[in-house]
């Protein structure tokens, strides 16, 4: 199974989770996701997701100018984003439990149809 396909469905909640504790700019979020084990995540996918979550009202955004180089755009979570994260956590927990049960039981001899 291709992990990048699975990642597409959960990138929103993953991005929300990494900005929950601390605001981050695009590549910073990418780095944190990779550090957490999602090594195949694409830069552009993360930037696009940040943008979409911002548009959906789940994130705030502000620009931090830099003296040395180009400015950075930071994203932070807001109340709506937290609510979304909370909901998606529950959905994920239930879903993963269901999948775990399904996959565990289907490996039992005689039950795999």
């Amino acid at each position: 199974m291709d992990a990048t396909q699975l990642l597409k469905g959960v990138l929103d909640v993953a991005v929300l989770a990494v900005v929950e504790d601390e605001d981050g700019y695009g590549y910073d979020v990418v780095r944190r996701l990779r550090a957490a084990g999602l090594e195949e995540v694409g830069d552009a996918s993360v930037y696009g997701t940040l943008r979409r979550l911002y548009t959906a009202g789940a994130l705030t955004s502000y620009v931090v100018p830099s003296e040395e180089g180009p400015h950075r755009k930071y994203y932070g979570i807001n109340a709506q984003g937290r609510a979304m994260l909370e909901l998606q956590r529950k959905v994920w927990t239930e879903f993963s439990t269901t999948m775990n049960n399904l996959l565990t039981s289907s490996t039992q001899p005689g039950e795999a149809a």
Binding site: Y27, G48, R51
Partner: protein, 337 residues
């Protein structure tokens, strides 16, 4: 934060990405690629071995993740320009709605009602088709036309759920939705109008209206013929004069053409007018029979025909001098017998 330099390659790459997004509104492109150079510079400073991907592929990934529409082929022409600006407007409105929590929740709520709309538009379509053949019945349909409505409902719901969508179907749905929205109120009005009966009932009612409630010439009719005067005879069969007649509702009975307001002409050429009776109260009334007539002339000042001064009222000759008397038994019959 890592301090990093933006190389010319990165600048060129970022330009390529922006060019690949050029079909989106400028504001959207800015928001999407804001900080792109800084992010890229940092990423490549960390890993010098990395190669920059294809800007087009990168832009496509960015677009997909941001939930933006895929690049539309740049077409020329008024129609595609209109379509493009329509798409842009929809995107802008969508963004504005999502940014406003109150609006967003309203839109979300309306979104939950979509299945209801699928049914409504199916009913609308079935009603319109049935109405074309004269088979609508108020809000409902005649007999087997309900089957058509059910078929339409199934198609509509399947379309709403994104099923059965072949080539050209989305355009058909869009046009159908516009027609349905435009037709909704007129159809509701027509359906409501028809809900108290079909065409026949309405026609019958309007016919009754025409005969009963649309009095072109107030007054009495006998089998369609105007009754201009009434001659009363007493029980003995003797002609009576100055008989006051009233309807069952107590309204003064007015013969045809004897209305008290303007048209009081008794003769076709208006050489005579009806002469009202005079009550003790001084009131002039036209329910005193038989009505008399009086010679008349046109009065320029009053702009109407008025009785000639000094003319005498003439009571038209009764049709019968005497009629048979009414038989009255000496004993009053007991209704219990």
């Amino acid at each position: 934060m890592t301090t990093s330099t933006v190389t010319p390659e990165i600048v060129a790459f970022a330009q390529g990405v922006r060019a690949a997004l050029a079909d989106l509104p400028a504001e959207e492109v800015d928001d999407l690629t804001d900080g792109l150079e800084a992010d890229l510079a940092e990423a490549y400073a960390e890993d010098l071995q990395r190669e920059l991907p294809d800007p087009g592929a990168y832009a496509t990934e960015l677009r997909a993740a941001a939930g933006l529409p895929m690049r539309t082929k740049a077409k020329s022409g008024v129609l595609s320009g209109l379509a493009q600006s329509w798409t842009d407007t929809r995107t802008d409105v969508g963004v504005a709605i999502r940014r406003n929590p109150a609006l967003a929740s309203v839109v979300e709520f309306l979104g939950e009602l979509r299945p209801a709309w699928w049914i409504v538009r199916a009913w609308l379509a079935a009603w319109l088709v049935a109405a074309f053949f004269g088979n609508e019945r108020g809000y409902g349909l005649a007999g087997s036309w309900w089957l058509v409505a059910v078929v339409f409902a199934v198609i509509s719901v399947q379309w709403g759920r994104g099923r059965w969508q072949g080539k050209g179907v989305p355009a058909l749905i869009a046009i159908g939705n516009v027609v349905a929205v435009l037709a909704f109120l007129p159809v509701m009005a027509a359906a409501d109008d028809g809900s108290d009966g079909g065409d026949f009932d309405r026609g019958f009612a309007s016919g009754v209206d025409a005969t009963v409630n649309d009095p072109p010439q107030d007054g009495l009719l006998l089998r369609g013929q105007p009754v201009t005067n009434i001659f009363a005879y007493d029980a003995a069969g003797k002609a009576l004069r100055n008989v006051q007649l009233f309807t069952q509702e107590g309204k003064p009975l007015e013969a045809h053409g004897s209305r008290s307001d303007d048209n009081t002409c008794a003769a076709d050429d208006c050489s005579t007018v009806w002469q009202p009776g005079q009550l003790e109260t001084g009131q002039s009334v036209f329910n005193v029979f038989p009505l008399g007539t009086v010679a008349a002339e046109w009065d320029d000042e009053a702009q109407r025909t008025v009785p000639k001064q000094g003319a005498f009222s003439v009571v038209p000759k009764a049709p019968f001098l005497k009629v048979p008397g009414v038989f009255t038994p000496k004993k009053v019959a007991n209704s219990n017998d």
